[in-house]
C-alpha cells in the first residue's frame, strides 16, 4: 500500500507542482491521470525517491520515502516519462546495466533481459545499437526493464506514450501479467480503464477525485452523455461542443435534437470536474 501524506512540491515562491495531497493507494494497479503539468510526474518522482517533497512524506509498503530511502529503492522500479536509451548501447546492454543496478548478477540480468525483450517482441533487436530503433521500440525497452526488474512496486510514467496500437496492447498484456503493485500515469482514458482498479485524478497540483473506477462512474447514476456541436442545451461546453448528462429515458428526445449519445466513461469524470484531457 502507498500512503501519501500532505505532499507538497514548490519550485519557487509562486509555482506549486503539488499542493499538499493526501491519498491511500490500496489497489494493485492505480492510474494517476491529469493534464500536462497537472503534477503527475512530480508525484511519481517524489514517490520514486528521485525528488524531495517540499513538505509532507509518503510510505511505500510501510517504508518512509524520506527516512528509509535505501530500503524503498530496493523494492521499487521506476521508469521515468522522458527517459531515452543511450544510443550507442544496445537494449540488452542497457537492460543488463539497469538490472545490475537493481542487484541482479550479470548472468541473471542478461537472462531476465532476454526474457523480457522476448515478451515485448524485441528479442531480434536485443543487440542493435539503440539509436537504430524506432521511438516506440525504445519506449518498449523501458517497459521491458520494469518487467524484468520484478520489483514489488513499479512506477510507470506514461509507459505507452508514442506507441502504436499493437504495441500498446503488448505492453498492456505484459503489465496485466505482473503481480507487482503498479502506479502508472497516462493520458489515455481507455488505458486507465483497461489496466487499473483505481484512479487518482490530479489537476493543478490537487487530487480532484480518487477511487475505484466503478464507484466513480456510478456517481453519474446511470446517466448517458449527449453531445452536439453548437448544441443549445449543455452542462459543459468545450470549444463549440455542448455536453449534457441525461437520464436514459431522455435519449430519444436528445437524438431527435441531433445529439450524439455516448456511454459514460473516465473522460466524463474529467469533464464533470471541469478538467479537459488533451488527448
Amino acid at each position: 500500500m502507498i500512503e501519501i501524506q500532505e505532499v507538497t512540491k514548490r519550485y519557487d515562491r509562486h509555482t506549486y507542482a503539488l499542493k499538499g495531497i493526501t491519498a491511500s493507494l490500496r489497489e494493485r494497479v492505480t492510474t494517476v491521470i491529469g493534464r500536462n503539468g497537472a503534477g503527475k510526474t512530480t508525484l511519481i518522482r517524489i514517490l520514486s525517491t528521485q525528488l524531495f517533497p517540499t513538505k509532507g512524506t509518503a510510505t511505500i509498503e510501510g517504508l518512509d520515502i524520506l527516512k528509509e530511502t535505501k530500503k524503498v529503492r530496493e523494492i521499487i522500479s521506476s521508469i521515468p516519462q522522458e527517459s531515452q536509451l543511450i544510443g550507442i548501447l544496445s537494449p540488452l546492454e542497457q537492460m543488463q546495466l539497469y538490472l545490475m543496478a537493481r542487484g541482479f548478477t550479470a548472468s541473471q540480468a542478461k537472462e531476465e533481459s532476454k526474457h523480457a525483450l522476448d515478451e515485448l517482441e524485441l528479442y531480434d533487436y536485443r543487440n542493435a545499437p539503440s539509436d537504430t530503433l524506432s521511438g516506440g521500440m525504445k519506449r518498449k525497452v523501458f517497459v521491458a526493464m520494469a518487467l524484468a526488474a520484478k520489483a514489488p512496486v513499479i512506477f510507470l510514467d506514461e509507459p505507452t506514450t508514442g506507441l502504436d496500437p499493437l504495441s500498446r496492447i503488448e505492453v498492456w498484456s505484459a503489465i496485466k501479467r505482473l503481480s507487482s503493485k503498479i502506479i502508472l500515469t497516462t493520458h489515455y482514458m481507455e488505458e486507465a480503464q483497461e489496466l487499473s482498479n483505481e484512479v487518482v485524478v490530479i489537476d493543478q497540483g490537487n487530487i480532484i477525485t480518487h477511487g475505484a473506477i466503478g464507484n466513480l462512474l456510478s456517481s453519474f447514476g446511470g446517466k448517458m452523455r449527449a453531445e452536439k456541436m453548437d448544441g443549445e442545451e449543455y452542462d459543459i461546453k468545450i470549444a463549440n461542443v455542448a455536453i449534457k448528462y441525461i437520464e436514459k429515458e431522455r435519449v430519444d428526445e436528445f437524438i431527435a435534437k441531433g445529439y450524439d449519445i455516448k456511454r459514460i466513461n473516465l473522460d466524463d469524470i474529467f469533464l464533470s470536474k471541469g478538467v479537459m484531457l488533451e488527448s
Partner: protein, 239 residues
Amino acid sequence: MNPKFILYFAWYYGFYIILRGPSYLVASLSLPLTLLFMVTIFTHGTLIAYAIAGGPIAIVAANSINGAADAAFFRIQIRIQDLFVATRITSQDYMFALSLSYLVFSLPGIALYAVLGAYFKVFMLSSALQIIAVLVLLTLTISNLSFIIAGLLKHIRNVWGITAILSIIMTVLPPTFYPYTFLPQGVIYILSISPVTPAAVLIQGIVGLEPFQVSMIFILLIETVILTFLGRKFIRWRE
C-alpha cells in the same frame, strides 16, 4: 559500493563507444597529436619528449571534462540518471562508473602514447605505475569537476560549448606540452587551479625530464578530495 555495476558500466560505456563510434576516439586524439606535431616542428624536435609525456594527460583531461556533457545529457535530456536513482546503486557508484568509462575510453590514446614514449625513450617500464596513478587521480579529479559543471546547468544547450572551452584551457595552458620550468614557480601555483598542472609537473618529474616536485602530489590529492566532495554535492542525485 556496487563494483560489478561500476565495471560493467565502465566497460560498456567506455569500450563500446570506441567500437561503435570511432570518430569520437579520433576526435579525442586530434588535439594532442596536433600539438605533438607542432611542438616537434617549431622546436626542431628538442621538446618532443615533453609533448609525448603530456599527451596522455591531455587525452585523459579532455575526455574527463567532456564527461560534463555526458553527465548533463544523462540527467537533463535522456533522464538516465533518474532511472538509476531509484535503484540500489548510490551516487558514488554512478559517478565512479562514469569516471571509469572515461578512463577506458582514453586507453587507446594512452596506449598510442606509450608506444611513442617507448620509441623515443621517454617512458620507462619502471615508472609505469606512477604514471598510471597520476592518470587515475587526474581522471577522478576532472570527472568530478565535470559533475559539478553538469549539476550547475539547467539547460543542455550550453554544455558542449562550455566543455570545449574548458578542454582547451585546461590542456593547453598548463605545462602539458612544454617544460614546467619555463614558468615562474608562482605561476605554476596559480595554474595549479587546474588539476592538469600538478599532473603535468608530476609526470615530467617521474619520467626525469624535470625535477620532481613533491608538493604537486599534495596539490593533486587535495584537489581530488575537494572535487570529489563537491561532485557528490552537485550531481543532484535526488533533486
